[in-house]
């Protein structure tokens, strides 16, 4: 599935592939090789101009791209070994929230993240990456387990929101998210959070309290999705582009406002165009941060983590006249 702004590039790439095939079949000559080089450079130019000018809404579209790597793709690519763990020990195993211990460059790390599905059946199984309270409680259980064995935690965030349903409310969606947020501040092990796709509201924040909060380049993170924001503030679903602009929800916006700690660069065209490169970048990035964090005491990490979030907010303090 191609996004609108991907189509012109895909057309040229298809043409390039045909030309290369032709060159292969018919003893290639200087003319065709020249044409191939020219086409390659114009593709690169088109890509550059397209991706430098993406609107915020187009970045939201990229964050939801159907071919984008999901949480388990990252885990499988980054880890030499991985053992998935299940269940909240209370009601269920939430398939929208996955986790387990993995080995990365010889280090044991607890991975936790929302999981989306790639086809209709998988999407239903994973509930579109929308966790229920048992998902948040499973996440907290696994994080506490990591703390017990003194292993760092990496969370991968990719959710259109916590699930809004009857059972979710009955089992305390609000309480589960609130509990996670509070408890994550007190975890004695390093916590690195990476938004790999969508970071929607409390459903994202419920696993996103960390010593480092990073966003992949083409992701969004905000208090509400552009669609819901449009429907509430503009009273129509038609203003999602304006809402995306107004919310300043891209990785660059969030970094600019000091609401995250860093942006992880994606290949030109987005993470799905070269997943191998993205996996390597994410792996290198998290190992670098981990090294810095492990140099600190648990107490220092906790107090820095708390102080960082407590600094967030913009207000005016008018003095008494």
């Amino acid at each position: 599935m191609l996004l609108d702004f991907e189509k012109p590039i895909a057309e040229l790439e298809e043409k390039l592939a045909t030309m290369k095939e032709y060159a292969l079949q018919h003893n290639s000559n200087g003319n065709i090789e020249q044409a191939i080089r020219e086409l390659e450079s114009s593709i690169l130019q088109l890509k550059r101009s397209t991706y430098q000018q993406l609107t915020r809404w187009q970045k939201v579209q990229l964050s939801r791209h159907s071919e984008r790597p999901y949480t388990l793709d990252y885990i499988q690519a980054i880890c030499e070994d991985f053992i998935e763990l299940h269940g909240d020990r209370n009601v269920a195993d939430d398939k929208a929230m996955v986790g387990g211990f993995g080995k990365v460059a010889g280090q044991t790390i607890m991975f936790v993240g929302q999981q989306k599905g790639r086809n209709t059946k998988q999407r239903q199984l994973r509930n579109f990456g929308m966790a229920n309270p048992e998902g948040y409680r499973k996440a907290l259980r696994l994080m506490k387990l990591a703390e017990k064995f003194n292993k760092p935690i990496v969370t991968l965030i990719d959710t259109p929101g916590a699930f809004p349903g009857i059972l979710a409310e009955e089992r305390g969606q609000a309480e589960a998210i609130a509990r996670n947020i509070q408890q994550m501040f007190m975890l004695r092990v390093p916590v690195i959070c990476i938004i790999i796709g969508e970071g929607a509201s409390g459903g994202a924040l419920g696993i996103a309290i960390g010593d480092r909060v990073l966003m992949l380049e083409n992701t969004w993170y905000s208090v509400i999705s552009p669609e819901s924001c449009s429907s509430i503030l503009w009273r129509s679903w038609e203003y999602k582009e304006q809402a995306a602009e107004a919310l300043r929800l891209t990785s660059q916006d969030m970094l600019h406002h000091h609401l995250i700690d860093g942006v992880i660069t994606e290949p030109l065209g987005g993470a799905h165009t070269d997943p191998g490169l993205v996996f390597q970048t994410v792996k290198d990035t998290l190992l670098n941060h981990l090294e810095d964090l492990l140099a600190l005491s648990p107490e220092a990490r906790i107090s820095q983590r708390i102080d960082k979030f407590c600094r967030m907010g913009v207000y005016k303090e008018t003095s008494l006249v």
Binding site: A162, G172, A178, Q183, V223, I306, F309, G313, T318
Partner: protein, 281 residues
């Protein structure tokens, strides 16, 4: 009078305050249409004498109900919203703020203060729904965080009264992070073993319910308050079904284990004091 019918002690209202409600003003209950003199409604802690309907009141009224002789010192009254994103939808955020300030006479959607409650020192933060739906932006988060810091410093219990539709969209990412900020401070309060009572009133939803409102050592609600993470409309649209009767009411939450008790507004001061005294003796 039989011991089991004994009336709860009424709220002490200083005589000078009573004059503010002139005779001849009437309150009509939106639930049962019962008409009562405004003064009586106020003496009844703004609840209906006939059906117990709890009127949506704000910080002014709660402070009057809870602080001894309505005596308190307000904390950080001069924090006001900024507009970090220059947010404009059908109106500019700065205009909405100014209009709301004019309408309510408040600076933002929360006020915090300290004083005594039945002689017990306490820090209270209370949300005002009248101010942009009690939505949580940077000012709300910062004032609550500072109120908790004050409680930590004074080693006093903290009482949070929530009444909010959730996040303030016009502050986007900043609004979201107030959930984190307030929860971080509450983690420190818990570590210091200081009591935290969370009172949830009608309505408490969204980011407020998914942070400080649900983190009380005890979570308490007023009768029939709407409490939930997602709003009923969103849930109905998502699942395409009607919602069960009484869904997301205080009584429903009590039944499902998320509240310690439901308290009538006329009794809350007394009950909170009793509970705190049990903890602190």
């Amino acid at each position: 009078m039989a011991w089991f019918n004994r009336k709860e002690k009424g709220i002490v209202t200083p005589t000078e305050n009573k004059k503010e409600t002139p005779d001849g003003l009437w309150y009509k209950c939106p639930e049962c249409k019962n008409v009562m003199p405004s003064r009586e409604h106020r003496q009844n802690a703004y609840t209906c004498s006939s059906c117990d309907h709890h009127e949506r009141i704000g910080s002014r009224e709660y402070f009057e109900i809870l602080f001894d002789q309505n005596q308190f010192t307000e904390l950080d009254p001069h924090l006001e919203a900024d507009d970090p994103l220059q947010f404009v939808d059908s109106a500019a955020y700065t205009q909405r703020i100014r209009a709301s300030q004019k309408k309510t006479g408040l600076t933002d959607a929360v006020r915090s203060a300290y004083g005594t409650m039945n002689e017990l020192p306490i820090t209270i933060a209370c949300m005002d729904f009248g101010f942009i739906g009690g939505s949580m932006g940077s000012v709300v988060g910062e004032k609550i965080a500072r109120a908790i810091a004050h409680a930590l410093h004074q080693r006093s219990p903290f009482l949070m009264i929530s009444r909010s539709g959730g996040a303030r969209m016009q502050e986007a990412g900043f609004s979201l992070m107030q959930m984190a900020k307030t929860s971080a401070k509450l983690a420190l309060l818990a570590e210091a073993r200081l009591p935290y009572i969370s009172l949830l009133t009608d309505p408490t939803t969204g980011g407020v319910s998914a942070s400080y409102a649900m983190l009380g050592d005890v979570n308490v609600a007023e009768p029939k308050a709407l409490i939930g993470f997602a709003g009923p409309r969103v849930i109905r649209e998502t699942i395409g079904k009607d919602l069960p009767r009484g869904f997301q009411t205080a009584e429903y939450l009590l039944e499902h284990g998320f509240l310690d008790f439901i308290v009538h507004r006329k009794e809350m001061k007394e009950k909170f004091s009793r509970l705190l005294k049990m903890w602190l003796d």
